[in-house]
Amino acid sequence: MKIIEAHNLSKCYRIEPEREPYYTLRDEMVNLAKKPLRWLKGEGEKKQDFWALRNVSFSIEKGEKVGLIGRNGAGKSTLLKILSRVTPLTQGEAVIRGRVNSILEVGIGFNIELTGRDNIYLNGAILGMTKKEIDLKFERIVRFAGFEKFLDTPVKKCSSGMHVRLAFAVAAHLEPDILLIDEVLAVGDFEFRKKCLKKMDKASQEGRTIVFVSHDMDSIAHLCTRTILLDSGRIVMDGPTATVISHYLDSGNKSY
């Protein structure tokens, strides 16, 4: 069964070079007063379109582990944001059959004044777990993060590495049909990273689909069977991980 189908996904961002970094109502009113005709005609300032994604089509089978690689700005995160419905599409269609959980950033909604225990509940709720689910998984989450000692200290007193461990531990215990993971493991130490990869591997054996963005080719090679290479918003290559990675690394060498 195809669990994700993307047809000609395109995402366009407007860049307005003449603009102030943010809109203000004041400017808008001044502009309106200056050029009332222009506003009526609906002529705006020159706008540049930036296509973060252009005609991206692919489909992912249930249980597949897909890696997404590419340079910075290639559109990997945008693609994940679209698949997780955080941002709307400009063109195209994305069909998703199942419950999606996305980890676009580690520790969303963490409150550093709260204790580890409270943050597990808070973060879990934000990621879409019910209180009962968290109650059930609480022990495992804490053990996974190695957080037993700090459970009742405010998170602000822990190291930033511990934040990431705790946040990822919560995310790793989600049980969605599709798991979208943006580059989030980079901060953890070697051992923790291995643990996470193992956990994701196990999740996919249970039939979950994983889309994984990373710059760490080892992790990709380790986890993913299929990899998609993006460059400037287009799919350059889509195939078995080993071939795609070697193509990516070769093209990187050529351009220098």
């Binding site: 941002t87 709307p88 996305s102 969303i108 909604g109």
Partner: protein, 216 residues
């Protein structure tokens, strides 16, 4: 309330009829505070929670509405103080007044939610709105019968019908303090207006919601 009593009640000599000025002003302030603090929280809520909005998918209407819950708790505490004041000034609420408390709170909620949703969406697009909001809210208090009775407008009474909070505050003054009669037309127009505000706020929010993540 003390400041208001001294300045408006004593110095400016605003007449509050049969009701002592402190409790007169406090009844107004009680509902006004709930309205204005919730409105300002809702208006800023989207921008201040941008981290979550950009990273997680969920119905975004929750954000402005949730931000006002805390102010309801504040209202409850302020209500407790109000009861103490009522005992001190020997006022007794009518049964009708107590019953009307719930519709009045609903009107207040609909009004600030509607406006809050509208302002929150505008705030996402125009970042200067949040700097004007506090002044705007401070001005609004003078367009509402908080510190003076509705009688001050003389023959321009109809202006009160444009402000949903005027119905709430007037009704509660008459009902909870048991002085005077309830102006049903004013209350009805408040209810109607608040529903209108809420519908418009929700519709505008829904329309602009899609693009929040891209421009927030």
């Amino acid at each position: 309330m003390v400041i208001f009593s001294i300045f408006f009640g004593r110095v400016a000599g605003i007449s509050s009829g049969d009701i002592p000025y402190p409790i007169f002003a406090y009844t107004g302030l009680l509902f006004w505070q709930y309205f204005s603090s919730s409105l300002s929280a809702a208006s800023n809520s989207l921008v201040s929670n941008r981290g979550i909005i950009q990273k997680v998918y969920f119905p975004k209407v929750i954000v402005p509405l949730a931000s006002t819950i805390g102010h309801f708790i504040d209202f409850l505490f302020a209500g407790a103080v109000f009861i103490i004041l009522m005992i001190y000034f020997h006022f007794f609420p009518t049964l009708l007044g107590v019953l009307l408390l719930i519709p009045c709170l609903v009107i207040t909620f609909l009004s600030f939610s509607g406006l809050g949703l509208l302002f929150a969406s505008i705030n996402v697009k125009y970042r200067d709105v949040r700097y004007v909001m506090p002044f705007f809210l401070q001005l609004l208090i003078f367009l509402t019968p908080v510190i003076y009775p509705t009688a001050v407008l003389g023959r321009y009474q109809w202006l009160w019908y444009l402000n949903p909070m005027s119905g709430v505050i007037e009704t509660m003054r008459a009902g909870l303090l048991g002085v005077g009669t309830i102006n049903w037309t004013l209350l009805a127009s408040s209810a109607l207006l608040s529903i209108l505000f809420f519908t418009f706020g929700i519709l505008y929010f829904k329309k602009s919601e899609k693009y929040f993540t891209d421009i927030i």
